[in-house]
């Protein structure tokens, strides 16, 4: 049997009630969805319009849907962690045992970074980036679908751990020697490695794809310095992805060689060096936090200019700040482990670099504030998210600079102070930004706006919940509460943990309001229809096309002569193009190969976790065969003729007239 199913056995089925609930609940949920799809005969629709689509906007929506589902799982994990620390006694009796507690926070971190933040980021980039630069599509549409399905496969593999085998209990970055064979012989760490490895390759391919898209597919006349800032932020982020994600791939590969082939690279004996792993993973990890936050900065830049009705203050300095961060983000990784003991000079260098990188970030904050100054501000829900961001992120930035001082870091290293700091930047910076972006661009994809009032309430609750949840953690951290412990022997800390748990509940209420916001908005979509294509009075090219944006994005490739092209263009008369100006265009046909490659990667990942080598080989061969078939296929596109385009585009002008 062992050759067939490897080390898989029934003893790996979950035993504690919480996991059993999740292990039964998730497949059951999937079954219900499948049942509904069958009942309403929607499978063909789903397959043709979504799963096999190579339209970047649709791929983007799929990313966002997956990421929002994972957000709910990640928040549930956070809720479990904080409920446990609020209830646990000094004797260690709480909701979970220590191993379970560790699995929960590991899953929380891994899911939030890789499957929520990365998913929302790639989702929004897919949705708006081509529209924003006046492109019809991304550079490599099929590769884009492969990226999505690898992301999806990684996500599923991560969640399968709940059903059988359990997840890693070694933290979201999995430091050895704890993640080595000696201390973690079970399948948990392998689940962690391979779900990240599969999703990580998808991210790398996306990074290449969008970098090429920006360089090669901008509308005529749009020089780099005329691009919207969001495009700039994506350009810089993709550079970081292309350079740093291979480091993650290599590091995880080396760790898995240690685990699968008994190598001694990161072990603590036979010459191995665990700190080498820590250096390598942070050489990826620190750029990664900028990979997440820079696109969010780009979103804020678009939103603040639109809702202050002013052009962005300090465009050139904004670009300079982005590029400065691009370089500096590779020179600060050691601040994650000043306590390694690299010596005073090394620590001083990285401490100073860390303080230096705060400068371009500060430049951005001031640029946004100056953009608001004397603007005619409209306090819409995206703008509320932006305001919450400025407040929260600034606090996070300041505590970051505090920890950049190595001497101070020795005190707060690996405490809840650090936990509060990075949540300050990641929730306040990244999550708020992506929520703002989703609200802002939602009408462009679906043709109607989200409910404004519920959106604002959700933002307020997130903000309030954030403060209540993390202010106590700062305090606890300063008092010396080490992170990742399931129990603390000082009972006077319990009240602070209880307050923090209440904060998580408030954030949960904010998320509930967001779910309600989606439901209500879809229900009442006729009241919020966007007939103009430009619901917010926007400035950039995506608002020049109808909502929902057609699959070809632009019937005629736009020409650009200035920044905020659409803002100025719409103040002049918009001429309806003559029929002869519409030329034939080529778009990618639907293709299911990306989905199958994702599926094969998922099975391969599962097979590696359980050591079913025949299945691994089978899947790898299948993946290679599919890649060959697809890359050797010359017939992958279909054509829309100029005449058809003319007809399709006429809607845009009749709709505009109806409004006038």
């Amino acid at each position: 049997m062992e050759w067939l199913i490897g080390r898989l056995s029934l003893e790996y089925l979950p035993t504690d009630p919480a996991t059993i609930g999740a292990a039964i609940g998730m497949p059951l949920g999937a079954l219900v969805v499948a049942g509904l799809l069958t009942y309403y005969k929607k499978w063909t629709w789903l397959w043709k319009n979504w799963l096999t689509s190579l339209d970047a906007k649709k791929i983007g929506v799929m990313y966002i849907v997956v990421a929002l589902l994972m957000l709910i799982r990640g928040v549930a994990d956070a809720f479990m962690v904080r409920s446990h620390t609020a209830m646990v006694g000094v004797d260690g009796e709480g909701l979970f045992d220590a191993d379970m507690f560790q699995q929960v926070f590991t899953a929380h971190g891994t899911i939030m970074i890789f499957f929520v933040a990365m998913g929302l980021m790639f989702g929004l980039i897919n949705v708006v980036l081509p529209l924003m630069i006046g492109a019809r599509d991304v550079a490599f549409p099929w590769l884009n679908s492969v990226s999505f399905w690898l992301f999806f496969a990684g996500m599923i593999l991560n969640n399968i751990a709940l059903v059988i085998g359990g997840f890693s209990s070694a933290g979201w970055l999995g430091y050895p020697p704890l993640t080595g064979l000696e201390y973690s012989p079970g399948p948990g760490v392998d689940y962690w490695i391979w779900s990240l490895q599969i999703a990580g390759v998808g991210s790398l391919l996306s990074g290449i794809n969008f970098f090429v898209t920006i360089i090669k597919k901008r509308a005529p006349g749009m020089t780099l310095m005329k691009m919207p800032i969001f495009s700039w932020s994506v350009l810089v982020t993709t550079v970081l992805i292309i350079i740093s994600f291979p480091l993650l791939t290599a590091t995880l590969a080396l760790l898995s060689l240690d685990r699968l082939m008994d190598m001694n690279i990161f072990t603590s004996y036979l010459g191995g060096n665990p700190m080498l792993y820590v250096n390598l993973i942070w050489a990826w990890g620190h750029p990664e936090v900028y990979i997440l936050v820079l696109p969010a900065f780009g979103i804020y830049s678009e939103i603040v200019a639109t809702f202050a009705r002013k052009k962005l203050f300090g465009y050139a300095t904004m670009v300079a700040a982005l590029v400065a961060i691009m370089f500096l983000s590779f020179l600060v990784w050691l601040h994650h482990f000043f306590t390694m003991g690299a010596g005073a000079n090394v620590n001083a260098f990285f401490g100073i670099m860390t303080m230096v990188i705060a400068i371009p970030t500060g430049v951005k904050i001031f640029n946004w504030l100056f953009t608001m100054y004397r603007g005619q501000i409209r306090f819409t829900s995206p703008f509320i998210w932006f305001l919450c961001f400025v407040f929260t992120f600034t606090i996070g930035g300041v505590t970051g600079v505090m920890m950049a001082v190595p001497a101070l870091d020795y005190q707060v290293h690996n405490t809840l102070f650090l936990v509060a700091h990075f949540h300050n930047t990641i929730i306040g910076g990244v999550v708020f930004g992506f929520m703002a972006g989703i609200t802002y661009w939602f009408p462009k994809i679906f043709g109607f706006r989200l409910n404004e009032r519920l959106g604002k309430y959700a933002a307020y609750l997130w903000q309030l919940g954030f403060i209540v949840a993390f202010a106590p953690l700062y305090t606890l951290g300063l008092m010396g509460a080490v992170r990742r412990l399931d129990t603390y022997d000082d009972p006077t800390w319990t009240p602070l943990f209880i307050v923090s748990g209440i904060g998580v509940m408030i954030i949960g209420a904010g998320i509930a309001l967001q779910v309600l916001q989606f439901v209500v908005s879809i229900w009442q979509r006729k009241q919020n229809l966007d007939t103009t294509g430009d619901p917010w009075d926007g400035r950039t090219l995506e608002w020049s096309v109808p909502s929902p944006a057609p699959e070809y994005n632009f019937a005629i490739t736009p020409t650009v002569s200035r920044r905020d092209e659409w803002w100025y263009a719409k103040q002049e008369t918009i001429r309806r193009p003559h029929k002869s100006e519409y030329v034939d265009i080529h778009l990618p046909q639907n293709n299911s190969m990306g989905l199958y490659i994702g599926l094969a990667s998922l099975v391969a990942g599962f097979a590696i976790v359980w050591h079913m080598w025949w299945l691994v080989i089978l899947c790898v061969v299948a993946i290679i065969a599919m890649v060959i078939m697809r890359t050797m296929d010359d017939n992958t596109e279909f054509t829309i003729t100029g005449e058809e385009l003319f007809e399709l585009d006429s809607k845009r002008f009749t709709a505009g007239k109806a409004k006038a």
């Binding site: 550079a139 490599f140 790398l204 990074g207 290449i208 794809n209 970098f211 090429v212 360089i215 090669k216 292309i242 350079i243 740093s244 994600f245 291979p246 480091l247 791939t249 290599a250 590091t251 590969a253 080396l254 060689l257 240690d258 082939m261 008994d262 190598m263 001694n264 690279i265 072990t267 004996y269 036979l270 010459g271 191995g272 060096n273 080498l276 390598l280 050489a283 080529h586 290679i624 060959i628 890359t631 050797m632 010359d634």
Partner: protein, 193 residues
């Protein structure tokens, strides 16, 4: 499809492939760093000078360098429309690449046979990881070449095939450059030249 669209597609594909190569440089960068840091971690086992046999490695290097030359000739021949010459040089590339890979495998089998497997020490682990990753790339390259030749047999030459051949050549030259680094850092420093 117009020639303009095809030309644009060609340059987009090439640009994307260059970026992929850049990312691969980073993978090798991490592996080189690992190797250089763990080189001394022999844990009482053999050192680099003990396990390196210069002569087969020299042969490997010559084979790979020669294959870089033959693939370049093949691309030039393809551009000039001399398809027979192209085919000849591509098969020569394949044989040289296979020779390289065979010698590498022989080296690995030898080492393991002598009891110096990747398990023995961190140095050997990082050695096998680094050299093996390059070997894996060569294997993929050889597979790519054979697949290309098979499709060429079926379809003959066209713009798409030309583009794919160009990308393959880029990949192959890239592996050659990585090998120069490997040869220098792992083998030449290893025997103390």
């Amino acid at each position: 499809m117009s020639a303009h669209v095809m030309g644009e597609r060609e340059s987009t594909a090439r640009f994307g492939f260059w970026l992929y190569l850049l990312s691969d440089v980073m993978i090798f960068g991490a592996l080189f760093a690992t190797f250089m840091i763990l080189r001394g971690g022999t844990a009482g086992g053999p050192t680099d000078a003990d396990i390196i046999e210069p002569f087969p490695v020299l042969l490997q290097t010559l084979a790979l360098l020669a294959s870089s030359f033959t693939v370049a000739v093949a691309v030039l021949a393809a551009r000039a429309g001399k398809l027979q010459t192209m085919k000849l040089y591509l098969w020569a590339t394949f044989l040289l690449g296979a020779t390289f890979l065979g010698l590498e495998l022989a080296e690995f089998i030898n080492l393991v046979g002598e009891g110096h497997s990747w398990r023995e020490s961190a140095f050997l682990s990082s050695f096998f990881a680094l050299v093996g990753t390059h070997g894996l790339h060569i294997t993929i390259g050889l597979l790519w070449l054979v697949v290309w030749l098979a499709y060429y047999q079926k379809r003959g030459m066209n713009d798409g095939m030309q583009r794919r051949l160009g990308l393959f050549a880029l990949f192959w030259h890239f592996l050659d450059i990585i090998w120069i680094w490997l040869f220098t850092i792992v083998y030449m420093f290893g025997v103390g030249v």
